[in-house]
């Protein structure tokens, strides 16, 4: 049972700096590679100067939204302007299908995440950090808990409290306002924005929310210098490196740190060793399951936000999941659709009903009982979800499903022309079981309405 491959593919190593195959879990190991030096340096700086450097580096959010990290920090009011505590919450609820990088950060460089938290805390003058960690992550929780214990004992935290808060299994809690609700001990349903978390976040106080990788990159910004950092990758907008999550039908899947701007082809063919078994690539789940799928004609697109954006793609959480030519794209869309249906929190009607409707339509396509107009209906349902809910969960479902229908319409059509799935049982996703209504004692509606 193999371990995850984690490697620096095309220097420089920023998030994984100092990692040579052995996790840097102890304080001594982390200090030996320069750990906590940037914390010391930034603590000697004025808080607003730390934020200015983050802005200069143009570090952007690694969780999916790619929002400038420094600017987000600059929205937080300074303590003299507000009579409420200021909070930091770290989003460690990694649950986007295809994403497995934050987990490796917590296992390999937990202290760097803590260092990033403390630098951010200094920048916005916060004394309280909550790390919301995915409930299923047990080894990762323990790694972080132990590192935190060492840092606390060594007096590194100073007057900052860092609390690990464990989730309990809900994809939606990766959405920042749902995360806050969950952290407040409620059902994880997104809030209406505004007010934005920077003004009214956790306990109605100013709150900075950042993804694990974003926070863990902060020490590197000061390590190499903001000006230098801004030159790495694909400046001016996609600076620095990413931990790309390469999976699916490739020879060498893994977490690879590489600068923004390497092409999808380079990642899959050179770093990943190409498609497993010498098969053909059919599509790429690009950025995560929440975005349009990439087709092989766009393989030479650089992995940076602008290059991808020009072609209608997103960098998301750095996911590149290769799908080979055996795969039925209707089955793929159906399984992704079942995921969103299962994870919809039920608050907004277009998402609650739309995700279910899409599953029913895709099931009919797969069974060969749909007709041409049903494909238009799928696109119409997608259109009626996008932009009409409090959060983007429904939009995410609609984006990937619509992209599958638009880009593989002939394959969808072949299902009803053939009276069933033309792939027979050859597709790896054939009859893939989805955990839609099997949770013990949970009141969950079945996939198909009576």
């Amino acid at each position: 049972m193999a371990e995850t491959t984690v490697a620096v593919a095309d220097g420089p190593a920023l998030v994984l700096a100092g990692y040579e195959g052995k996790p840097l879990r102890s304080l001594d190991a982390y200090r030996a590679v320069g750990g906590y030096e940037q914390l010391e340096r930034t603590r000697a700086m004025e808080p607003q100067d730390v934020i200015a450097k983050l802005i200069e580096s143009n570090l952007r959010g690694r969780g999916g939204a790619f929002f400038p990290t420094g600017r987000k920090a600059s929205f937080i009011p300074s303590p003299d302007k507000i009579a409420r505590p200021i909070y930091i919450t770290v989003n460690a609820d990694e649950s986007e299908p295809g994403t497995f990088k934050d987990r490796e950060i917590m296992l390999i460089v937990p202290h760097r995440l803590i260092e990033g938290c403390l630098i951010a805390a200094h920048a916005i003058q916060s004394k309280r950090v909550y790390i919301y960690i995915r409930g299923e992550y047990v080894d990762e929780y323990e790694s972080l808990r132990d590192a935190l214990g060492q840092a606390r004992k060594a007096g590194i935290l100073g007057d900052v409290a860092i609390v690990l808060h464990r989730g309990a299994g809900a994809y939606i809690c990766g959405e920042e306002t749902a995360l806050l609700e969950s952290l407040e001990g409620k059902r994880g349903q997104p809030r209406s924005k505004p007010p934005f978390p920077a003004i009214e976040g956790l306990y109605a106080s100013p709150t900075l929310i950042n993804n694990v990788e974003s926070i863990t990159t902060i020490p590197a910004v000061f390590g190499v210098g903001a000006e230098e950092f801004a030159k790495i990758g694909a400046p001016p907008d996609s600076t620095g490196t990413r931990l790309f999550c390469l999976s699916g039908n490739v020879e060498r899947p893994g977490v690879y740190e590489a600068p923004h701007g390497i092409t999808v082809r380079h990642l899959i063919e050179e770093i990943g060793g190409g498609i497993a078994g010498g098969r053909e690539l059919k599509a790429v789940m690009m950025g995560g399951s929440s975005f349009p799928v990439l087709t092989p004609n766009d393989l030479d697109t650089p992995l940076d936000a602008n290059s991808l954006g020009q072609k209608g793609y997103f960098i998301g959480s750095g996911v590149v999941c290769a799908i080979d030519d055996r795969t039925c794209m209707v089955q793929f869309a159906l399984r992704v659709g079942q995921f969103y249906m299962h994870e919809s929190c039920g608050k907004c009607t277009p998402c609650r009903i739309g995700t279910r409707w899409l599953v029913q339509l895709l099931r009919a396509v797969e069974n060969g009982t749909a007709k041409e107009s049903d494909l238009d209906l799928v696109l119409d349902v997608c259109d009626r979800i996008i932009g009409k809910c409090l959060c983007v969960l429904g939009d995410s479902d609609a984006m990937i499903v619509a992209s599958c229908v638009s880009k593989f319409r002939d394959e969808f059509r072949a299902h009803f022309e053939h009276g069933g799935c033309p792939f027979g049982h050859d597709s790896q996703l054939d009859e893939l079981f989805a955990p839609v209504d099997q949770h013990s004692g949970h009141p969950v509606a079945p996939e198909v309405l009576a």
Binding site: M1, T4, E184, G185, Q428, G441
Partner: protein, 155 residues
């Protein structure tokens, strides 16, 4: 330490007057009782000065909270697309055969509950199977009999 005492400890991590300890308290109760019975939820509610109805409404939102009895062991197989592309269905079916139960069910002796789950975040080493919440990576159908035997030997 009693469950109540443990919950009071956890409560201190959060500002007074907030409900933030609900999730950790439910987790503690489940670790103790195996699942969240009505009595367990009442215990949590009493410790946090909340109503059982409120605690139940929170518990029912999250997949990791069991609102019905489960086996002494849990086997959770990821069947999201990344694992799906590399044989997750065959792994799930191997567990179904070996345990004689369908996903969501518990073996007759109360030993093992089998579940399929959404992406566990181990996509580069499919199939990911969480056995008693610890990840096993790159599990193949051939590994399944060994895992099941391990659990049976453990009671």
């Amino acid at each position: 330490m009693s469950l109540d005492a443990e919950i009071q400890e956890v409560r201190k991590l959060y500002p007074e007057g907030t409900r933030s300890a609900v999730l950790p308290a439910l987790r503690l109760a489940q670790e103790r009782h195996g699942w969240l019975s009505r009595e367990a939820i009442e215990e949590v509610a009493a410790a946090l000065d909340l109503t059982p109805a409120y605690c139940f409404s929170v518990a029912s939102f999250y997949d990791m909270f069991h609102l019905a009895p489960v086996g002494r062991h849990t086997v959770e197989v990821c069947t999201n697309v990344c694992c799906g592309l590399v044989n997750a269905q065959a792994v799930l079916e191997a567990f179904e055969r070996e345990l004689g139960v369908a996903p969501g069910e518990t073996t007759e002796d109360g030993g093992v509950t089998l579940r399929a789950v959404e992406c566990l975040g181990g996509c580069s080493t499919p199939t990911i199977v969480a056995v008693d919440h610890r990840y096993r990576q790159s599990v193949t159908p051939e590994d399944v009999p060994g895992i099941v035997e391990e659990l049976r030997n453990d009671g």
